[in-house]
């Protein structure tokens, strides 16, 4: 006899089997009766397959003891909550995230709105910070021609930014 399927959430024998087809991709979730009820699968009005797929895909072994250097969040924390600690976690838990995105979404790349003004502000701020560091180093090293060039560039960037210049700080 074939091995009975196990519940994706608690590993008990599964009796409820869900299939969703998104963009010709088939996603399957197997649940025991208790988890199916708890997740509202038996009550159509409370059922969200995306959350289920997230929980189900958290079952594979967590990726060792990876930790977000910005907020201290760990892979174990993610496995427990299904949520991240901060936006930097997305760069630290790429290996954990990539297989999940495939299951969860229609694509793995963003193709919507971009906060252009905020991004422009951010890159302007980063450019200014870089130029100010270069200026300091040039002065310390007594490279006065370079320093003058950096100063002119800083003035130019600030003028083009207008009153928004410090908004990214």
């Amino acid at each position: 006899m074939a091995n009975p399927l196990k519940c994706d959430l608690c590993s008990k024998p599964a009796t409820v089997h869900l299939t969703q087809i998104v963009n010709s991709k088939i996603h399957k979730v197997d649940l025991c009766e208790a988890c199916a009820q708890a997740k509202g699968v038996t009550d159509p009005s409370g059922f969200s397959l995306a959350d289920l797929l997230l929980k189900a895909s958290l079952n594979p072994e967590p990726t060792g003891d990876v930790k977000c250097t910005a907020c201290g969040f760990t892979a174990q924390d993610f496995k427990k909550t299904g949520r991240f600690g901060c936006s930097d976690c997305y760069t630290h838990f790429t290996r954990l995230l990539e297989p999940m995105l495939e299951t969860m979404h229609k694509g793995s790349a963003h193709s919507g709105k971009v906060p252009q003004r905020a991004l422009d502000r951010r890159s302007l701020y980063e450019r200014l910070t870089r130029l100010e560091t270069d200026l300091d180093q040039a002065i310390k090293a007594e490279r006065y021609e370079d320093a003058a060039r950096y100063r002119d560039e800083i003035t130019q960037v600030r003028q083009s930014a207008g009153p928004q210049e410090n908004a990214g700080k």
Binding site: D43, G46, L101, G112, A167
Partner: protein, 360 residues
């Protein structure tokens, strides 16, 4: 604006003349946004959450759309006030349980809401009565762009807007419509519809979101995936699914009138009788009776002008609203009496149904 002033003022959903749509009661879009360089609410310390809240609420309250609205920390609200905001679909049940450092900003007309430190730093939401995705998207898009002037949102060129939960990544948009589907429920086709809608990548939930029941035959249909498509594509896709459901519902109504008119009119007539004469009505029963009256309005057995009354009562029959109107603390049994009193007095003014028009 103070919270009690807001509760007592007319809102988009409790005092609307916009209820012209036979099937779609309400259109809502929410966007999740987070500040770059700050821990998400679920991981932040209380002091960090308070700092984030102050920063967000200041920026949101300064928006022209939020002028003369309400900006308030969640911990200053009592349970009844929170319950009323949930019943008006202005805040989530999750936000009610927030311990410290969460806040709410609501526009004067109660069509724009920003929840601060719910699951994400900002949950921007716009809702309108009826089927109005274009208008709602334009409003929320402008609100989001205005906010971006003052805040650095966590964003990645490949993953889009970064949210606490990866299920919201990308556009971080949740577009939903609240649909009244009594004929599909009566003819036992709702389960089939839910299955089909799920297969198309959409979620179906009850009146108050995840885990709530679908009393009054009201369902919320929303997109499930947020990454890989633009906001406009997601809305267009959902719009198409909703149009199909509307068509199915209208066909089911036509079939019921055509094949089982007496069974249908009996339900509508009895609902009218109970609403005019009942003395004990819990919120679930009231919702189901009102649902039948709304179906009667759509079929022409009651005047079109009654639709706004029914839509208002859908909200005002909820426990929090009943308790607030009666100005006191009541147990559920007392609320059932008060609810029935209110419905009797409202339906005493509603003329008898005319079934001849619907039967044609």
């Amino acid at each position: 604006m103070k919270i009690n002033e807001l509760i007592d003022s007319p809102s988009e959903l409790t005092d609307t003349a916009a209820s012209k749509s036979a099937v779609v009661l309400m259109t809502r879009i929410r966007l999740a946004r987070n500040l770059a360089g700050h821990p998400f609410p679920g991981w932040a310390r209380d002091t960090q959450k308070r700092d984030i809240r102050d920063q967000c609420m200041q920026a949101v309250a300064a928006l022209p759309q939020m002028k003369r609205g309400l900006a308030i920390p969640v911990e200053t609200l009592d349970e009844l006030q929170k319950q009323i905001l949930v019943e008006r679909h202005l805040i989530s049940r999750e936000l009610c349980h927030a311990k410290a450092g969460s806040g709410i900003v609501i526009s004067k007309d109660q069509s724009c809401v920003v929840m601060v430190n719910e699951e994400d730093h900002l949950r921007i939401q716009v809702l309108r009565a009826g089927f109005q995705f274009k208008k709602v998207w334009n409003t929320i898009n402008a609100l989001d762009t205005d906010l971006e002037e003052h805040m650095d949102f966590a964003f990645s060129p490949t993953l889009g807007y970064l949210s606490a939960c990866p299920t919201n990544l990308g556009t971080a948009i949740r577009a939903s419509a609240m649909m009244h589907l009594p004929a599909l429920v009566i003819s036992a086709q709702m389960e089939k519809v839910v299955r089909a809608v799920n297969q198309l990548g959409m979620a179906v939930r009850g009146l108050f979101g995840e885990g709530s029941d679908a009393s009054g035959s009201i369902f919320q249909i929303s997109n499930q995936t947020t990454l890989g498509e633009s906001e406009e594509e997601i809305i267009k896709h959902l719009h198409g699914v909703l149009n199909t459901i509307i068509e199915q519902e209208l066909n089911a109504r036509e079939r019921l009138v055509g094949t089982e008119p007496n069974k249908l009119f009996d339900k509508i007539g009895r609902a009218y009788g109970i609403l005019q004469n009942g003395h004990l009505l819990n919120s679930g029963e009231a919702m189901n009776l009102l649902s039948l009256i709304r179906l009667g309005i759509d079929l022409g057995t009651f005047a079109d002008t009654q639709r706004a009354l029914v839509d208002r009562l859908f909200i005002e029959c909820q426990p929090g609203h009943v308790q607030h109107a009666a100005k006191g603390a009541f147990d559920p049994a007392q609320r059932d009496v008060l609810r029935a009193d209110r419905l009797r007095s409202e339906f005493a003014k509603v003329p008898s149904p005319d079934f001849t028009h619907a039967a044609k």
